[in-house]
């Protein structure tokens, strides 16, 4: 087999790096949240409520980043035909969906005390809901298609098309009038709030990379089983699992 998916089967050891990244991510998030909750001062008008900013904004950045990663994986799979990109695509979309869902929940929790409503169909919220629904749909599509070739191709094409909503989500607050505020810049945020915001963004990013690495590994294992040629005699697909049979 010349496919790298198979070549790497033996060399893939324990995912130490991924676990280290996850550990570092959690530690970073704990530190950032401590600073955000206990060290940073209250906001002038919102008091304590604004503190959800320190998770909401980093979640948004990383959700869009994860889906951008998935978009890149989809293109790489379609142009290169390398199965590893299909595994990464699966991981990227899943994490992107989880983060987008968290984003909507955090937003609702913040919206109730500030805007006075849990949800409203303003352009930012609506396009984000569309984003979540579209990528959930792609995950469902992947579940329902058993043939790995069709699954990979269809979900890659769907990902490329659905990705169009990501820049629309980002620019929605600039293009249309909305209830949601525009993007903040370092100039519109007091410097006392910068540290927890940045630390938490890095924390979620580390978690994101670690979890995507682990999830990709699982997807690769499954793909190896699915794509393995049937062994003539006693062979089973399990032989391709890393570490097995040695």
């Amino acid at each position: 087999m010349s496919d790298p998916l198979f070549d790497n089967a033996a060399s893939e050891g324990r995912p130490v790096v991924a676990w280290v990244l996850i550990g570092l991510g959690i530690a970073t998030l704990l530190f950032g949240s401590y600073v955000g909750l206990f060290v940073a001062p209250q906001e002038k008008f919102m008091g304590e409520v604004y503190r959800i900013l320190f998770v909401h904004v980093p979640t948004a950045w990383n959700a869009l980043l994860a889906l951008t990663f998935a978009f890149g994986c989809a293109l790489m799979f379609l142009f290169r035909g390398d199965w590893r990109w299909d595994a990464r695509l699966e991981a990227g979309i899943e994490i992107g969906v989880v983060l987008s869902f968290l984003l909507c929940c955090q937003g609702a929790i913040w919206a109730k005390p500030t805007w006075g409503v849990w949800w409203d169909w303003d352009p930012r919220l609506t396009t984000t809901a569309v984003l979540l629904a579209a990528f959930l749909g792609i995950l469902a599509l992947r579940r329902f298609v058993d043939d790995p070739v069709k699954r990979a191709t269809w979900s890659s094409v769907a990902t490329v098309i659905a990705y169009v909503d990501v820049p629309i989500v980002y620019f929605s607050v600039k293009w249309w009038n909305s209830l949601h505020q525009m993007q903040s810049t370092p100039n519109t945020v007091s410097s006392a709030f910068h540290l927890p915001l940045r630390v938490n963004a890095i924390g979620i990013l580390l978690l994101l990379i670690g979890v995507i690495t682990l999830r990709t590994r699982i997807a690769k294992m499954r793909l190896r089983e699915e794509l393995a040629p049937p062994e003539p005699a006693a062979g089973s697909a399990m032989e391709y699992a890393p570490g097995a049979g040695r």
Partner: protein, 163 residues
């Protein structure tokens, strides 16, 4: 799950070239969708709220129709709203001003010179009857200055009105 589906190399040559065309096609569809929304006029129909000036210009359409009106709460215009009395205030975009009457309890953040989006309709009497009052927050987050403290008591009191 465990049964092998394919006997051949993962992506055959035929599939590979077809996939490239699929990628080009998908990028094309995405680009067209993007241009339709951004450059063409479709996006112009996406109106979340009217400004007081929009309302002024289309007053006949606004009477009786459910619409959203967005703008700033004019300083010094807030009347009532305590103990369940009707809350009245002016919404302005610094060009036009619309008088709003609301029955609900305003959210915690409601104050003078803050952005609001009100849902309701324009009445023949010339004021906006609001069923739903939402406060929008800008993109600014400021720490209080030295010695300045947010009035926590007032903040807590104002949350009590939330359903």
């Amino acid at each position: 799950m465990s049964e092998p589906v394919m006997n051949e190399a993962p992506v055959s040559r035929k599939n590979a070239s077809r996939n490239k065309w699929a990628a080009v096609g998908a990028l094309g569809v995405a680009l067209v969708a993007f241009l339709l929304i951004t450059v063409s006029g479709i996006g112009d129909n996406l109106v979340y709220y009217w400004t007081p000036s929009d309302l002024e210009a289309n007053r006949d359409k606004a009477v009786g129709a459910t619409i959203r009106l967005g703008g700033m709460v004019k300083p010094g215009s807030i009347v009532g709203g305590k103990n369940g009395s009707t809350l009245e205030f002016d919404v302005t975009d610094y060009k036009s001003t619309v008088h709003v009457k609301s029955n609900g309890v305003p959210p915690q953040m409601f104050r003078e010179e803050i952005g609001v989006v009100v849902e309701g309709t324009m009445t023949d009497a010339g004021h906006f009857e609001c069923n739903r009052l939402m406060v929008s927050h800008g993109n600014e987050y400021r720490a209080p200055k030295e010695g300045e403290h947010p009035d926590v008591k007032e903040l807590i009191q104002s949350t009590e009105g939330l359903e």
